[in-house]
């Protein structure tokens, strides 16, 4: 599933070409965002998880590494050392505490990786679009090569070679997903560069950096921003697919994807230890995407709508 991010970017690449026509400087100013009730609920969910990221460890009844349950896969109920609100996991740890601790890792890593991917992808994409020639050729071929290889294999290689620490996880995911951002940014940049107003600015004698800052970036911002939601989902899934290969976040730290993975067996005993983290992933990522949907539907620009 993680490979499908590329869909998004290809779609945008083509649509971006169309869009450049709609995004003329004299386009009417965007209306202020007004959310539907779905948008407000989604915002509440995201806000909830962001708060949990900060306070999670302090409100968790147990530490994430404590094995204080009387047995593995216990249903919710009182135990020897406390009350297990969501039962215990396969190592008799408190599922609720691990979900609370895990928020920090899962959301933190995926947000950091997605932001970094955007930073790298946009910088290189616009650089390639503006400079063209051999720089464009070189970056684009390496980018294509990385895109053509399965993401999980790239992750496996980097982590096997460099070890699996949180900075490396973030860096790996960022590089892998920057390739898609690069393609969008480059396509948008190329289209904007041939617009009359950019050519006019160039004739005026403005420098390359002025053009990028004043013309290219503002016009490319919206389509890139609306892609953010799905990219985030793919990073979360990428981290969890690494846990399938036995890599990922270092134990005993909890991350939601690995929690689903390590407790799958519990499903056969009617344990919900794998369901809770799956719900946590789903609630966070769906909420982010619904907000994006809402913004793009309301913001009016056709540009945003296609990014849904």
């Amino acid at each position: 599933m993680t490979d499908q991010i590329v869909n998004k970017e290809a779609e945008q690449e083509v649509l971006a070409k169309l869009d450049a026509f709609a995004e003329l400087p004299d386009a009417p100013p965007k209306r202020k965002f007004r959310l539907t009730w779905i948008g407000y609920v989604s915002c509440a969910v995201v806000a909830f998880w962001l708060i949990i990221c900060v306070v999670g460890p302090s409100i968790a009844p147990f530490h994430e590494m404590d094995m204080d349950g009387d047995d593995s896969f216990l249903p919710a109920g009182p135990g020897e050392y406390g009350y297990f609100y969501l039962g215990t996991d396969y190592l008799s740890r408190d599922t609720l505490s691990r979900v609370l601790y895990g928020a920090r890792n899962t959301i933190g890593i995926s947000l950091a990786a997605t932001l970094l991917a955007y930073l790298m992808g946009i910088t290189l994409g616009i650089l390639a679009a503006v400079k063209g020639g051999w720089i464009d050729m070189g970056i684009s071929r390496v980018n294509d090569a990385i895109l053509a290889l399965p993401t999980i294999m790239l992750g496996l290689i980097v982590i096997a070679a460099l070890g699996s620490s949180i900075p490396i996880l973030i860096g790996t995911a960022a590089v892998i997903y920057a390739t898609s951002v690069f393609r969008i940014a480059r396509a948008l940049g190329q289209d904007i560069m041939v617009q009359d107003y950019v050519e006019a600015a160039a004739t005026r004698g403005e420098g390359v950096w002025w053009i990028i800052r004043a013309e290219v970036l503002p016009n490319a911002a919206m389509p890139l921003a609306t892609d953010f939601g799905l990219r985030l989902v793919f990073v979360v899934l990428f981290i969890s697919s690494l846990s399938f290969l036995g890599l990922g976040v270092q134990p005993p730290a909890a991350d939601w994807g690995s929690m689903v993975r390590e407790n799958l067996q519990g499903l056969t005993y009617g344990s919900y230890a794998a369901i809770w983290p799956a719900l946590a992933i789903a609630s966070f990522t769906i909420a982010i995407n619904l907000i994006v949907d809402d913004i793009s539907a309301k913001s009016g620009g056709s540009l945003a709508k296609k990014m849904v």
């Binding site: 590494m65 094995m67 593995s72 190592l91 096997a160 290969l245 036995g246 134990p251 799958l264 067996q265």
Partner: protein
């Protein structure tokens, strides 16, 4: 009185079919006291009678091998590196294919005693520096041709020499020369006495191939070298997919009951269990502790748990920090909550480890006199404090089911006494080359070796190639050599006890537990061997099983 009466009255053949099934299940699973209780409750007979019934049933079931049928067996790992050359076998799926296709000179019985296989007899000279093997007559290879001493000498020489890539080259290094002393007789001339040589010749890699075989790969047209003498002929082989084997109609002894078997692997542990329960597979290896309950409660399948000395070890290298500190090692040993590990992580299918590689499964060589080391956080705290370390980093790879969980338990317990045990999780591929015997703290697993001497020697012999804690003890070396030549059981036991005490107190090895070998089989699979040296009766099943 009542017991005696029911004992005489109850017979296996008088049972109803459902009770027979229960007996069959218990017999195959290697029954425990609890299961006998279960049988006695179900059938309403007394305990003694139930026990009697079980032995009775064992005999009844064992007496009726049937020909026909086919099975699918799934191992836990396979890939493009699946091998056909016995000398290079490294995984369960290789061993199983090897056992179906080939024979060794010697076979391990359930109690680990060496039994004649292609060697009709094996005799040492007075001081065990020479062994003479009489080769069995009337054995033919799958592609025709009779087994002779030449084939044996050719095979054994493949484990020697500079350019040999045999996995057991160093294990058999004590053999100076393999010599043909007659058309059907071979002599092994040793560097030093070794009373255990026959046992080593039952290892997975010692399968006898036809003289002059050079290629072991599949030929261009897909055909295979038929250079074995085993119970099944390999029909097709797709590395990383499966192999298909059909009965060798000219097999030289009884056995080979199935018409065919297919050998494959499902690498995902959850999927493997599901394949067994849904009936897609008849036998699967390496059940994970998390799935025991699922298998035990499922209909039509049995959890086969064989006590073994599969050690779950943490190596503290004695030649580097922090393992060089005896106090640090002691701390690591006392922080292991062994009872909890066996109960919670291994779900009872294992035994307590006492920081030596020898377990009760080794029989009389196990030192029962050595006091069991218990979980003692206070002592651990004391020793960690004395060592001066407040943190350490342990490299963990999932080399065996449960080892990560053992390390997580140790980490949680260390945190409670203020010691920061950091875990660094690394992938299994590359682990043996890049981490094991290199990083100061790492995890290890060893397949059980057939003798206590080879088990201790391989890991703790001074200067041994795989001395994985770099603990070199001169006394250990003396005892290893002496015990091989010792024939008096009491003296021999005393020597093994001294060795285990040395390892227990001095080495850098932490062995909190031994895992059983846990496999799952369908209820209609009968005659399963229980050799504790590997999965599914040390892969000995192809020759013995039949379908009820």
């Amino acid at each position: 009185m009542k017991d005696d009466k029911s004992k005489s009255e109850l017979n296996y053949k008088d049972l109803t079919q459902s009770d027979k099934d229960l007996v069959a299940k218990l017999v195959k699973g290697g029954f425990s006291r609890r299961e006998v209780l279960k049988l006695s409750m179900v059938t309403g007979v007394s305990l003694v009678a139930a026990e009697h019934l079980l032995f009775n049933g064992k005999a009844a079931i064992a007496a009726t091998p049937k020909k026909g049928g086919s099975v699918r067996m799934s191992s836990n790992l396979h890939g493009p590196d699946d091998k056909l050359d016995p000398a290079t076998f490294t995984s369960t799926i290789d061993y199983t294919r090897g056992r179906a296709t080939y024979n060794s000179l010697i076979q391990h019985a359930n109690d680990l005693s060496p039994q004649p296989e292609l060697a009709e007899s094996f005799e040492p000279n007075g001081n065990a520096t020479e062994w003479t093997f009489k080769i069995r007559d009337g054995v033919t290879f799958h592609n025709g041709g009779k087994l002779t001493a030449d084939d044996v000498v050719y095979t054994m020489k493949r484990h020697q020499g500079e350019d040999s890539t045999s996995v057991i080259k160093s294990v058999l290094a004590s053999v100076k020369e393999w010599k043909k002393t007659g058309p059907m007789e071979v002599k092994a001339i040793l560097e030093s006495p070794n009373a255990d040589l026959p046992t080593l010749l039952g290892l997975f890699q010692t399968k006898i191939v036809k003289n002059g075989t050079t290629g072991y790969t599949q030929k261009e047209d897909g055909s295979l070298e038929q250079n074995g003498t085993g119970p099944y002929i390999m029909e097709s082989f797709q590395p990383g997919v499966k192999s298909v084997h059909t009965r060798n109609e000219n097999y030289w002894r009884e056995g080979a009951n199935l018409d065919a078997c297919e050998i494959t692997a499902i690498t995902d542990p959850v999927a493997r269990v599901n394949a067994l329960i849904s009936g897609d597979m008849d036998m699967v290896t390496q059940l994970e502790p998390n799935s025991f309950r699922q298998v035990e409660s499922a209909k039509g399948v049995t959890l086969l748990s064989t006590p073994a000395a599969l050690q779950m070890g943490i190596c503290c290298l004695k030649n580097s920090e922090p393992g060089s500190s005896d106090d640090f090692v002691k701390g690591m040993q006392y922080i292991q909550d062994r009872k909890r590990i066996v109960k919670r992580i291994l779900k009872g299918k294992g035994s307590l480890g006492n920081d030596t590689p020898i377990s009760p499964a080794h029989g009389k060589d196990w030192c029962s006199e050595l006091p069991q080391r218990e979980y003692d956080p206070d002592k651990a705290k004391f020793h960690f404090k004395k060592s001066g370390y407040t943190e350490a980093e342990l490299f963990v790879a999932p080399v065996s089911g449960g080892i990560e969980d053992i390390c997580l338990t140790a980490q949680a317990n260390c945190a409670k006494i203020g010691f920061n045990l950091k875990l660094k999780k690394v992938p299994t591929d590359g682990y043996w080359g890049a981490v094991w015997m290199k990083e100061p703290l790492n995890v290890v697993t060893w397949n059980m070796r057939p003798t206590a001497n080879s088990q201790l020697g391989i890991q703790f012999g001074p200067g041994a190639a795989w001395n994985d804690t770099f603990w070199n003890n001169a006394r250990m070396g003396e005892l290893l050599a002496q015990s091989l030549a010792e024939t008096d059981p009491a003296k021999r036991h005393a020597m093994y006890c001294e060795m285990q005490t040395l390892v227990h107190n001095g080495s850098g090895m932490v062995i909190p537990a031994f895992s059983n070998i846990n496999d799952g089989i369908a209820d209609n699979v009968m005659g399963m061997p229980t050799v504790p040296l590997g999965q599914l009766g040390a892969c000995e099943w192809p020759e013995f099983i039949w379908l009820a």
